[in-house]
């Protein structure tokens, strides 16, 4: 583990004092010409700004103000009341005042005021408007990449101002003047070309899934299928590519397969749409987000499926739930009797409600669970029919397969949940310090519930959360395997038909031997 200053976790959190410039050094790698070009973005010399960056910036900002009502309204309505100032996990973890949501928005708002409002044009000092300079742009690049677009601030804003909207707009504008972020801009072309964030081609994927089938059969003695590109299957499962091999993600994928198996439905993965994640959201680019979504439409048509189900992934579910209909719809060729798309937890919950799963809760007795509400699911979706079902459904499923469960402190869950610290396109090693510090509020809540209720494991339904926690838990004195997938718990507890029969047989043989 590299050496970072780890923020303290406290029993009773208090709001920290601000420390200017505390994270001024944090800046992700800028995308080189190669990736910028692939994305259709320009690049300057030596990863610098393009020649006419200033005109381009202002033209792009004007364009965005005319295309996104959210941005135009949010630029005007902030009254600087301060309600959001202590709500961001990155502010709490770093104490840098530019990580206060309003200050982050102001990096763009100050420029908006200077060039687009009467007050800013004629009385800039009075209203805090500033000229667009290279320093201002650099500040934007640094601090718009210290926001995970988690929307916790938007919950508390009296005017519903969502910093994520501002961050997305700013990142897209920055991309257009040569300041694209390497991590996201390197990944997105892989989805366009190959079908997933990892650049995992069809053959490798088929191989992985075959291995998974063998592993599950060895483990429980039942042949559970993990099919790829099977035409005529009823369900297309779209899941984050991390599910194919990362821990604990893959245990979740095993779980989905078992649930489908027990439910008796036919399903398939697609090599073309082998990715639920959609980093187009992170970089605030409608066109890229749409093109990534359209791969799912194409795959669904080619395979002739009747339903689409999404695996455990936070921002992917935000895009799927809110935007798939907009970007890749209309979905008139799918079965209208099911939600389009459906979340895997909606599927599993329905199976549990219909009592068609054979569950042995005691299989999870070695753990006491808590649940981490992923930001995008909590504040930008539903998992079920009622508002708030995104909180209840995962907990109902966990409680249906586990005996021991305790929630974390009320002001850190549901729509007040804290981001894992790695969302929004920040899950990259060049932002490790930020990720560790941003995880502080969640780590604090986890430590406290562990101390008070003996919680041993935290379940999550987001690939980014799982990867992020795997990495940062050790920095806070915990172990990486304390983070688990919800469908991993389902997988542990579910007893499939025929399961255990062979196992008992083999026990007998052992005794006989």
């Amino acid at each position: 583990m590299a050496d970072y200053e780890i923020p303290e976790t406290r029993e009773f959190p208090i709001i920290p004092s601000i420390m200017e410039g505390a994270m001024a050094h944090s800046s992700p790698f800028i995308a080189g010409e190669e990736f910028q070009t692939e994305m259709g973005f320009p690049s300057g010399e030596d990863k610098g700004l393009i020649e006419n960056w200033k005109e381009t910036f202002l033209a792009q900002l004007k364009d965005k103000l005319g295309k996104y009502r959210s941005l135009q309204v949010f630029m005007d309505t902030c009254v600087k009341c301060g309600a959001c100032t202590d709500k961001c996990h990155y502010f709490i973890g770093t104490t840098d005042p530019k990580n206060m949501p309003v200050a982050r928005q102001d990096l763009l708002r100050k420029v908006y005021r200077r060039y687009f409002t009467f007050a800013g044009k004629y009385f800039p000092k009075l209203v805090g408007a500033v000229d667009l300079t290279e320093d201002v742009v650099k500040d934007m690049y640094d601090y718009y990449h210290q926001c995970s677009e988690c929307r916790r601030c938007a919950v508390f804003c009296p005017f519903g101002i969502d910093t994520a909207e501002v961050t997305m707009a700013a990142r897209d504008i920055l991309s257009m003047i040569g300041y694209g972020q390497k991590y996201s801009n390197q990944i997105i072309p892989k989805v366009h070309k190959i079908g997933n964030n990892l650049g995992l081609p069809e053959a490798a994927l088929a191989d992985t899934l075959e291995g998974l089938e063998e592993e599950v059969e060895d483990d429980i003695g039942v042949k559970v299928r993990y099919p790829l590109d099977e035409k005529g299957a009823e369900i297309l499962l779209v899941t984050p590519s991390a599910d194919f091999f990362a821990e604990p993600h893959v245990d979740g994928l095993i779980g989905y397969g078992k649930v489908f198996h027990a439910a008796g439905v036919t399903w398939t993965l697609s090599s073309k749409a082998s990715e639920a994640a959609n980093f187009g959201l992170f970089i605030g680019n409608y066109e890229h987000m749409r093109l990534i979504s359209l791969r799912i439409r194409d795959a669904a048509k080619e395979l002739g499926v009747r339903r689409i189900v999404f695996g455990e992934c936070g921002h992917a579910w935000r895009v799927a739930y809110n935007h798939l209909n907009t970007l890749a719809g209309p979905w008139d060729f799918l079965d209208q009797n099911y939600p389009i798309p459906q979340h895997i937890l909606e599927f599993t919950k329905d199976c549990l409600d219909r009592n068609i799963l054979n569950i042995d809760k005691s299989e999870n007795d070695h753990m006491t669970l808590t649940f981490h509400d992923s930001c995008n699911i909590a504040r930008a979706s539903r998992i079920g029919e009622d508002p708030g079902s995104q909180f209840t459904t995962p907990r109902q499923v966990i409680k249906a397969v586990c005996n021991n469960f305790h929630d974390m402190s009320a002001d850190t869950i549901h729509d007040q949940t804290f981001c894992c610290g790695g969302g929004g396109g920040l899950l990259t090693d060049d932002l490790m310090e930020l990720r560790i510090k941003g995880a502080q509020p969640r780590m604090e809540a986890l430590k406290n519930v562990s101390k008070d209720y003996g919680v041993t494991h935290m379940a999550a339904i987001c690939a980014i959360c799982k990867s992020q926690f795997t990495k940062v838990l050790p920095y806070y004195g915990m172990t990486m395997d304390q983070i688990v997938s919800v469908h991993q718990l389902v997988s542990n507890a579910i007893v499939l038909e025929g399961q255990g029969e062979e196992a008992e047989d083999s026990d007998d043989t052992e005794e006989a031997a």
Binding site: I15, S17, K67, K80, G82, V127, P387
Partner: protein, 253 residues
């Protein structure tokens, strides 16, 4: 008519036109710009009625602010609510005694609550001002205009209270002046200094309304995060420019 009265007649019209035209223009601008994506902050209502209820809790109780910070909420809510009471009391200057709504305005409840509301306004504003100076986070995000706005409204409340308690003015003549503005039958304005200061600050507030953060009043209702209905799976949401992109490659058909 005195030169002073003529000046204020002109100022009143300028301020009124600036306020109405400026705010209308802004609202039309917000309406013109599409919201291309569903971005309701969830849990969000599933129906129009639910959205109306969501706004009701925000406008009447400042629900989100209450969840965010109790101090800002208590000062902010007291200030806004007492400003409403003071506003209601002032309606007696613009409503004719013959009107059917006159009894709704000219009664003990509205008039006496409005009478004392000025003190509550000052209290709330002082609290907000104090937070702006004392809390390091709020101080960091404050521009000169943020302090001046509070000072301006404190000035309006303060001079209003002075007129009510210390330096009375000829309210009958004042009403004649105001009503004259509506019917283009211009009358003299009482020349008391405190009244003139009070009115000047109100006029200034009206003029800066459409070019300042006071736009939070109409903007509150224009935030897609709050007004959108949570039904993206059930109903396809598509903006005009989103449809144009679709039409170009035809991949959604």
């Amino acid at each position: 008519m005195s030169a002073l009265s003529i000046l204020y007649v002109i100022l009143f019209y300028v301020a009124m036109i600036t306020l109405v035209a400026g705010v209308t223009n802004k609202i039309l601008q917000y309406k013109r710009v599409p919201a291309p994506l569903k971005i309701a902050v969830t849990p969000a209502p599933l129906t129009k009625k639910g959205v109306a209820y969501r706004f009701f809790t925000e406008v009447v109780f400042f629900n989100s602010l209450f969840r965010a910070t109790k101090w800002t909420w208590i000062f902010g809510w007291i200030f806004h609510f007492s400003m409403l009471l003071a506003f209601l009391r002032h309606l007696r200057y613009v409503i004719s005694p013959d009107s059917f709504i006159w009894p709704l305005v000219n009664n003990m409840v509205v008039q006496s609550f409005g009478h004392y509301a000025g003190f509550a306004m000052l209290f709330g504003l002082a609290g907000l001002f104090g937070r702006r100076i004392l809390v390091d986070r709020v101080r960091y995000i404050s521009s000169p205009s943020d302090y001046l706005m509070l000072i301006l409204i404190m000035g309006i409340a303060g001079t209003g209270l002075m007129i009510a308690y210390v330096a009375h003015t000829d309210v009958v003549q004042l009403k004649a002046f105001i009503m004259g503005l509506f019917f283009f039958d211009w009358q003299n304005l009482p020349g008391d200094t405190v009244l003139l200061v009070h009115l000047t600050m109100v006029l200034l507030l009206m003029i800066i309304f459409p070019i300042s953060k006071l736009l939070h009043a109409p903007g509150l209702f224009m935030a897609p995060t709050r007004y959108q209905i949570d039904n993206p799976r059930e109903k396809r949401h598509l903006s005009p420019w989103g449809a144009e992109i679709e039409a170009k490659d035809g991949r959604n058909s």
